[in-house]
Subunit: 158 residues, 2 copies
Amino acid sequence: MRAIQDLYPDDFSHCYGCGRLNAHGHQLKSYVDGDDVVARFTPSAQHMALPGFVYGGLIASLIDCHAMATAAAAAERAAGREIGDAPAPRFVTASLAVNYVKPTPLGPELEIRGHVRERTDRKAIVELTVAASGVVTAQGEAVAVPMPPNMGRTPHSS
Amino acid sequence: MRAIQDLYPDDFSHCYGCGRLNAHGHQLKSYVDGDDVVARFTPSAQHMALPGFVYGGLIASLIDCHAMATAAAAAERAAGREIGDAPAPRFVTASLAVNYVKPTPLGPELEIRGHVRERTDRKAIVELTVAASGVVTAQGEAVAVPMPPNMGRTPHSS
């Protein structure tokens, strides 16, 4: 099975959080799992908040990128396609909310799980959890919108 | 004037987003500016979402760390101290919400500005903006709580 991010067009595969073409980034990979979309990520030692715990910015990043992939999968499904049939549509984040339920231990692989609660062609509302060793440590909600056409080029091009 | 993060105790200065002792991290520095707290940060080329734009996870990270510093400054002020008089208290994020008002261009220095809307000894609600070249591109709200005593040691120590 292919990761949703690996189906983004090359031009939109540079995201620090999940772009396969960003050598410095996290390269998050999200996979369809029934009605959910799931990703696994093991933070590095430097990704700490306080010794022993993952910093909140990374958790927000993982939720963000995974939500966009979850929205892309739902859009493909709504269009009657399976993931892998075609390039995946690129969504961007309109808003993001994270509830840090408890400190996330640094060390274990994290599981990020998303599902679309509500969608139209104009947006998707994605609910997510982050779990460490089976314990949910953060909950998220993101509003994903299709990438606006003016983001498809750099601000410096015309 | 000293950055609030530079007044965190050494043991709590390893945060990837803002710890002065994290050589790999962003080392965000937040300064009191009247009733606000302000930080400036220039994303690196790799911190992109799509070519030409900052990735949302970084924006969430900056808002998160800056909110904790803003809460620390307000707690110091409430205690009758100026920033620099004593080590700054360490807050952690209970929740975080980011509204991505418009795409954030990659290139310009970003200004992150926070102020405490509401506080008690148990929590502070911090409102924030991120601006590029004077244009607000993201708004945030974070709930900061004093670091729980059990986060002061690693999960592996006893």
